[in-house]
């Protein structure tokens, strides 16, 4: 159970990726930019973020939505509403991207 202070701080953290997923829709918030676009995958960046482990470094955060017949229903003010058949949501950092 998350403490209320922690919950508020997460709500106000606009660099942290926030994703709402249903079976046919994904709402991505705090989107800083669109990195990659296709009918099978949409990758967005959420800007720079301090990561503590194993040492505190400034790194880029990414989110990838995978599926079929993906359509961006709306792009507006840092939010993406994605429709289609949703299969996977991935949170990535540059090291993960290199591994892939």
């Amino acid at each position: 159970m998350m403490k209320i202070g922690e919950e508020i701080s997460r709500d106000l953290d606009f660099t942290r990726p926030r994703v709402v997923v249903t079976d046919d829709m994904v709402l991505l918030e705090n989107v800083a930019g669109i990195v990659m676009l296709s009918e099978q995958a949409i990758t967005v960046s959420h800007g720079l973020k301090h990561v503590k482990a194993p040492q505190k470094v400034l790194t880029q955060m990414y989110t990838t939505i995978r599926g079929r017949n993906l359509v961006i229903r709306e792009i507006y003010e840092g939010r993406l509403l994605i429709g289609g058949t949703i299969e996977k949501a991935e949170f990535l950092q540059p090291s993960d991207l290199r591994e892939n």
Binding site: I34, L37, S38, V71, I72, R73, E74, I75, G78
Partner: protein, 377 residues
């Protein structure tokens, strides 16, 4: 929050475009960072996508794309394109305008008139008055002088106290209120006509046996001798005030239609005549015994009884009852004279109308024996 005019909505001018070029994600990235609103972004391969965008944002997108991307307008929607598409069909526009004009124009004509609130005035007279002032089915409403029509109704029908002439759409309502001028006169006449009361008077002279006043005031008592036409039960009842008010001294008179039963013993004197002799008396063998034989007293009495029965059947009422009977025979010449005295118990009360205007004489003409005589009787 963006400017409301730039938001895509049903009412905004929105454009469906096709964008072609390499690295379309970079263009979308720049569009998002520039705050452009895109909808239904659908990838059509590596180098092509389609999306909806507002007209204002399309110009910005074209600037962002520069010459690296080709943006083609496929479809436009919104009020302005819709109006343009409608105006591109002049026959359709003309038909719509004609239909609208017809609907509006025909609403200027009166279709029905409803009149309410009248009582004595015939509806036809009111409609005729309206027609004279130009209010009839099919009349052109803007030409109507509403106030003048109301005034005309006031002038034509003096008994009208209030008039409301209103319309809604094609219907006209005439609401009015009238005094009971004619009705009042009729009612007054009827009321005046009804201002009579009835007394029970004696149809025969006699001695009162029983008197039952159902309505009214009895003016006779059992044992009283009353004459024909005398009031037995009066419908004029004086009411004595129960308060000591000097001004109302003498009281008031309450009028009713008197009803009741009055039974009296009425004496009847009459005389019957019969022949004194039987003529041509014969014996049992058919031979004449004597030319004439005088009637015996029994025979005369039987004949008198027969005559009384005949008289009773013709002259006495159905419920009359003969209580005493006295016969007196006197013989003179060839005639037997029978003097009859009957004491008949019968109802003698009959109704007689009296006008209220004559009540003063009626109520003040008290006789010493307690009865009241109506003037002129």
């Amino acid at each position: 929050m963006g400017e409301p005019s730039r938001r895509l909505s049903f009412y905004s001018h929105r454009i469906f475009v096709k964008i072609e070029g390499f690295r379309l994600d970079r263009l979308l990235d720049r569009a998002m960072k520039a705050g452009l609103e895109l909808r239904s972004v659908r990838m059509k391969g590596e180098t092509e996508l389609t999306c909806w965008i507002s007209r204002a944002d399309l110009r910005k997108l074209q600037k962002l794309g520069k010459s690296a991307y080709r943006i083609t307008v496929l479809q436009q929607r919104g009020p302005v394109p819709g109006a343009k598409s409608i105006l591109a069909r002049p026959a359709f526009v003309l038909g719509v305008l004609l239909a609208a004009t017809f609907v509006v124009f025909q609403s200027f004509f009166i279709r029905s008139i409803e009149v309410s609130g009248y009582r004595g005035i015939p509806e036809e007279a009111l409609l005729a008055c309206l027609a004279e002032k130009g209010i009839y089915k099919g009349a052109f409403r803007p030409d109507i002088d509403w106030e003048g029509t109301e005034q005309a109704i006031y002038d034509a029908f003096p008994q009208v106290t209030w008039v409301q002439l209103v319309y809604r759409g094609q219907k006209v309502w005439l609401n009015l209120s009238e005094t009971d001028h004619d009705l009042y006169q009729k009612e007054e006449k009827e009321r005046t006509k009804r201002q009579v009361y009835t007394n029970i008077v004696a149809s025969h002279s006699g001695y009162i046996d029983t008197i039952y006043p159902y309505y009214g005031l009895a003016l006779a008592e059992p044992g009283d001798y009353v004459k024909k036409g005398q009031i037995l039960i009066t419908g004029s009842i004086p009411i004595q005030p129960t308060t000591f008010d000097e001004e109302s001294e003498g009281g008031r008179i309450y009028f009713v239609n008197a009803e009741g039963e009055v039974w009296a013993k009425v004496p009847y004197h009459m005389t019957f005549y019969q022949e004194r002799y039987h003529f041509g008396e014969k014996s049992s063998d058919g031979k004449t015994v004597a030319d004439r034989v005088e009637k015996t007293e029994e025979e005369a009495k039987r004949r008198a009884e027969q005559q009384i029965r005949l008289w009773t059947a013709e002259n006495l009422p159905e419920k009359a009852e003969i209580q005493n009977k006295s016969l007196k025979f006197s013989r003179s010449g060839n005639i037997i004279e029978v003097s009859v005295l009957l004491e008949v118990r019968q109802e003698i009360g009959i109704k007689q109308e009296a006008a209220i205007g004559e009540t003063d004489t009626d109520t003040t003409d008290h006789r010493p024996d307690g009865t009241v005589r109506k003037s002129g009787q």
